[in-house]
Symmetry: C2
């Protein structure tokens, strides 16, 4: 909790919700007739509506990207390091829009929402949403806010995939795409980790085939395991070694199955606290959106062809110790853009924090990100 | 099932069991008064008893390392690629001993065995066994077989850790240690993966605090998840890509949570078939033995000091794409040995199979392994 908000903070913020009534046709073949998106904005939209920036969130993210809800909040929004006055996404210049994606569990329509056809929560009947569906719904939010062209669409990890999809699907509706710690598609290993996480949830006896809301319970163990596993892939081996090494919590071996090593304690805490703030059905949907993302698939696997019509300029950033989406994966995007002579800047940031680095105030990263954003003409 | 056994196969084999009645004091402070070890032997012990080789198994291994039990067997023992006439561990020269470790579930005393104090299976009351405990019990098996000095102690992964511990604890009782795809201790990341696997088992409602035998059930989901996760770490990203890529089992997306990608199908199969042949309590014990292994810890973390008194000559082998125990981890062992001017040969095999490479007939690996074994003086 900040006593006084620091001057580079966006301050106290309030989310807003928009109710959409135009049916949204989804990639899966189904249609959502009505849905709501919850979002926050920081900074002011200029007269010509040319300074809007869209923030796309990653797997467990939401619309609360910066600032505080109350002076009692312990933590600011999830990307407060990058959004605020004087920060890379400078709210003195930009009007920033950050939403919770469709299928989410933080206020936008998702599995926890009431299905108007049944009067009960959608649960497992909520359609599986793709990155393309999200981009389509985000474009509609842009329409509502009077934004016909974003100065930039920005995201890290799964958020970066949305920025990439934006450039492909709406070439005229953004001038810059900032794709951080992302990949043009998941590897078999990435899918494998997602599958273990899904099985942990799906096979939890408290999952009730996704109808756990009606049983007044949650698949706690499954979601906890999924999050523990996720955390291993978010941190690099070096980061784990620096953070925990082989340190024992009580200084000696116990010859039992209670927590012994510090890293176990960390993972159990991360897992169990996640259960309090996230929905298992949403987690399942998010992992599927990741697995399905593969814009090259419609072009016989040729990513350059998928990117042939993009008009946005790109900033692509990767982190050396990220083994979830390694620099090699970002270079696939960069090379595909260069093949088509697109305007792309690429930075490979030396960092030991692994995939999570994209959330951290690493000086070289902040500097490059800020410099790029500053040269965007409004 | 082989129609005719190939000439380089050890042929039909039969396990034997020895009942030990001298109490075994364990690292955890407890004592096993009686215990059995099941083992197999291949080849013949020479007159001077100088040609015996001990095979130490890895996490899910057992005593059945080579040959077949019946002509109907679909598969030979787990290391049949390396053990047999003319193979690296040449049974024309060597007398090979392979056992199931204490705490195992394939015939040696372990959690499934009856606890003489209660008349019921040990279950969770079976003591947590360390690599040092295993080595001690293996030395006793050597005594029973009349082997006072092994020509070589050999193992891959957790088996390699046992070979290393042998050289430390019984310097006069082996002439060679072959340490393949191992590490001098687990990293925080290795421990983290083990912890997720353990939590999957421990939190399975069918686990019943380890007393599932008495409930006539098994923690199927937990053990399955543990094995699925294990498999991800046994394969390299490249091996997964070559094996599965992003291929869809039915050629199209289903927008559901059934198996879609080939890699999901593979993992589910590996997970569920493992449940049929392995015991969850044993799995827990094995992961703890891995976590606890750290011979340098008694020497202020100085591995060279831990190895100061070894007399065995070493062959250390690693595989380039092994990310569970990477070549860098093997080099830690090699460098610690070199610091103390020990005799060590090191080979880093170019292989895309990941950690599992140590089980595979990779030509360069076979050649180096065989050449080393051939020069062992009997």
């Amino acid at each position: 909790m900040p006593d006084i908000l620091p001057p580079d903070n966006v301050g106290l913020v309030t989310p807003q919700t928009h109710k959409f009534t135009t049916p949204l046709a989804l990639d899966c073949g189904r249609t959502l007739d009505n849905y709501e998106l919850i979002y926050e904005t920081y900074g002011s939209l200029n007269k010509s509506h040319s300074n809007a920036v869209l923030i796309c969130h990653a797997l467990s993210g939401d619309h609360h990207a910066a600032g505080y809800y109350t002076m009692q909040d312990k933590k600011p929004g999830w990307w407060d390091t990058c959004i605020g006055p004087g920060k890379p996404i400078d709210t003195n210049r930009f009007f920033v829009v950050s939403l919770n994606n469709l299928g989410g569990c933080k206020g936008s329509t998702g599995p926890k929402s009431i299905n108007p056809d049944t009067g009960k929560p959608y649960g497992p009947d909520f359609p599986i949403i793709t990155v393309r569906d999200w981009v389509k719904s985000q474009a509609r939010l842009g329409d509502v806010l009077g934004i016909s062209q974003w100065a930039a669409v920005i995201g890290g990890s799964l958020g970066g995939m949305q920025a990439l999809q934006w450039a492909i699907d709406y070439p005229n509706h953004l001038r810059h795409a900032v794709v951080i710690a992302a990949a043009p598609k998941l590897s078999a290993q990435n899918i494998a980790f997602n599958e273990v996480a899904r099985q942990a949830i799906l096979k939890d006896p408290e999952f009730y085939a996704g109808h756990y809301y009606q049983h007044d319970t949650v698949p706690r163990q499954g979601l906890m395991l999924a999050r523990m596993l996720g955390h291993i892939t978010y941190l690099s081996e070096v980061a784990m070694r620096k953070k925990f090494g082989r340190e024992l919590r009580e200084g000696k071996l116990n010859f039992g199955f209670d927590v012994e090593f510090q890293v176990e304690s960390y993972l159990r805490y991360q897992g169990s606290s996640f259960v309090e703030r996230f929905d298992a059905n949403t987690y399942l949907l998010m992992t599927k959106a990741l697995d399905y993302f593969d814009p090259a698939s419609e072009h016989d696997g040729n990513l350059s062809e998928a990117l042939a019509k993009v008009l946005a300029k790109f900033l692509v950033i990767s982190f050396t110790s990220d083994w979830r989406f390694s620099p090699a994966r970002s270079r696939e995007i960069v090379n595909a853009l260069l093949n088509k002579r697109k305007d792309v800047s690429y930075a490979e940031i030396k960092a030991h924090e692994g995939h999570d680095a994209f959330l951290m105030p690493i000086p070289h990263y902040m500097e490059i990100f800020k410099t790029y954003m500053q040269q965007i003409v409004l």
